[in-house]
Symmetry: C2
Subunit: 245 residues, 2 copies
C-alpha cells in the first residue's frame, strides 16, 4: 500500500460511509446552497485532508478542489462538495464559490502550481483570505511576493515539535523547551519576511541581512539563558565582546 492513496482508502472504507449523502442530495455541479460552506480547500493530500477534517469535526464544511478524478466520489461522501480539475482555472474557482467564500486553503504540494493558484485567487478574489502551505523558505518568499501573508512551511512545526521533545530529553524543563521553540519559530518567521524581497535580487544584501538575522536569534537565546540560569556561556558571550546590560 503506497502512502498517498491510503488517505483515500481510509476515507472510502471508513470515514466516507459515515457521511453518505441522502438520496437527492446536491451533486458536484450544483450551486452552493448555503453560506456555511464557506471554506475552499485546494489539494486534499496529507496536508489539506487534516485541515478539512479538523474543520469538519468542528462543524465547518468545505468545498474541495482536487486534481485526482478517482477521489471525487470519496470526498463527496465525506459531506464535502468536490470539484475535480485544475484549481488554477478561473471557471472552477467561480463554480466552487470563491466569490462568496470566507477562506481559501491553498494546500497543493506542487510549488509552481501553488504560486499560479495564489496569483489567480489574489487577482480575481482580492478579498478572499488565503492560508497557504509552503514547501520551504523559497516557496514562502515567493508566496509573500504575490501577496499571501499566512504561510505554513510544511515541515517546520513538526521539526519544532521534535525539537521540544529533544530539549526535554536532554533535561530542559517542558515549559522552557516549548518557549524556546516558539521563540525560534517567531524569529524564523520574521526572518523569512525580512528576506522575502531580497533573496533573488542583490546577493550581497541578501546574505548580509540573513547574517544579521542569525546574530539576532543567537543573541536572543544567549540573553534568555543568562536570565534563566545566571549562566555565562563562553560560546555565546566571548569575554572580549562588550555587551549591553
Amino acid at each position: 500500500m503506497a502512502v498517498a492513496p491510503l488517505f483515500f482508502v481510509l476515507y472510502q472504507r471508513v470515514v466516507a460511509p459515515r457521511y453518505a449523502p441522502k438520496p437527492g442530495a446536491a451533486g458536484p455541479s450544483d450551486a452552493i446552497e448555503h453560506g456555511e460552506r464557506s471554506v475552499i480547500i485546494a489539494g486534499f493530500g496529507r496536508f489539506g485532508h487534516i485541515v478539512g477534517r479538523v474543520l469538519q469535526v468542528n462543524g465547518f464544511e468545505a468545498t474541495v478542489l482536487d486534481l485526482d478524478p478517482t477521489q471525487v466520489d470519496t470526498i463527496r461522501r465525506l459531506g464535502m462538495k468536490v470539484f475535480y480539475g485544475d484549481a488554477t482555472r478561473l471557471e472552477l474557482l467561480q463554480a466552487a464559490g470563491a466569490a462568496r467564500a470566507r477562506l481559501f486553503v491553498l494546500a497543493i504540494d506542487d510549488e509552481e502550481r501553488s504560486l499560479v493558484l495564489a496569483e489567480t485567487v489574489r487577482k480575481h478574489f482580492p478579498n478572499l483570505t488565503i492560508l497557504a502551505r509552503a514547501v520551504g523558505r523559497i516557496h514562502a518568499y515567493r508566496l509573500l511576493r504575490v501577496g499571501v501573508t499566512s504561510i505554513y512551511r510544511e515541515t517546520l512545526d513538526s521539526s519544532l515539535a521534535m525539537s521540544v521533545e529533544a530539549l526535554r530529553r536532554l533535561g530542559v524543563r517542558g515549559y522552557e523547551a516549548t518557549r524556546a521553540a516558539r521563540r525560534f519559530r517567531d524569529h524564523d518567521e520574521r526572518a523569512v519576511r525580512a528576506l522575502a524581497d531580497l533573496w533573488d535580487k542583490d546577493e550581497e544584501i541578501y546574505f548580509s541581512e540573513a547574517r544579521r538575522q542569525v546574530v539576532a536569534v543567537e543573541q536572543m537565546f544567549s540573553q534568555d539563558r543568562r536570565e534563566l540560569h545566571g549562566e555565562r556561556d563562553e560560546a555565546w558571550d566571548p569575554p572580549g565582546q562588550k555587551k549591553e546590560a
Copy 2:
C-alpha cells in the same frame, strides 16, 4: 536557486562563519572528546537542520550524519561534528559515538532508508532513544513496528497550525481552536498506535478498527461542542440515535 541547497548556501555564507573552528580543532575523523556532544542527527535537510539549530542556540551540540559530501565542511563550520556517508552503516554509527549518545534524531527523508537505520540503531544501540521523522501514517506504522515510539509525521503539525488559524478566522476563539487541534492530534496519534499492528494484516479488522477511531473522534468533538455551546448539532447527533448522558 533550488529549495534544498538554500539551507547550505545560507549556512555557508551566513551561519557557518560564526562558528568557524579554531586552528587545530578536531576534524571529522577524530574521536568525540566530551560528553556534551550527545545528540546524533541523521539527515540535515529541512527537518534535521531545524532540530540542530534549536539544540545549538540552546547550548547543545550535535554530531551530524549526512549523505551529501559537499556539505561536510559547511556543517563542520557550524560547530557540528559531521560524518559523511550512509548512516545505516554500523561503523559510521560507532564512529559518530552512538554507543555514548543520549539521543538519536532520525531525520532522513527516504522512508526505506529511515526504516533500515531505525532497525540498525535499535539492534546495536538498544538503549539509545530515537526521535524519528515520518513521511506519513504508513511510515509511522512501520517505525512503530521496529520499536520506535517517538514519531513526528512531517506535515502533521504544520497542517494543524493552519487548522487553528482557519478556525479562528471562522470565528472560533483562539483558546478553543488551539484546544481542538491538540485534541485532534492526540486522538490521531492514538489511532496511529492502535492501527500500527493491523494495517498490513487482516484488511477487515484494520478497517473496522479505523472506523471505530473515526467514530470516537466525532463523538469526542460532538460532546465538546454540546458542552461548550449547549448546542444540539443535528449532523452529529441525529434525533433517532440514543446517546448516553
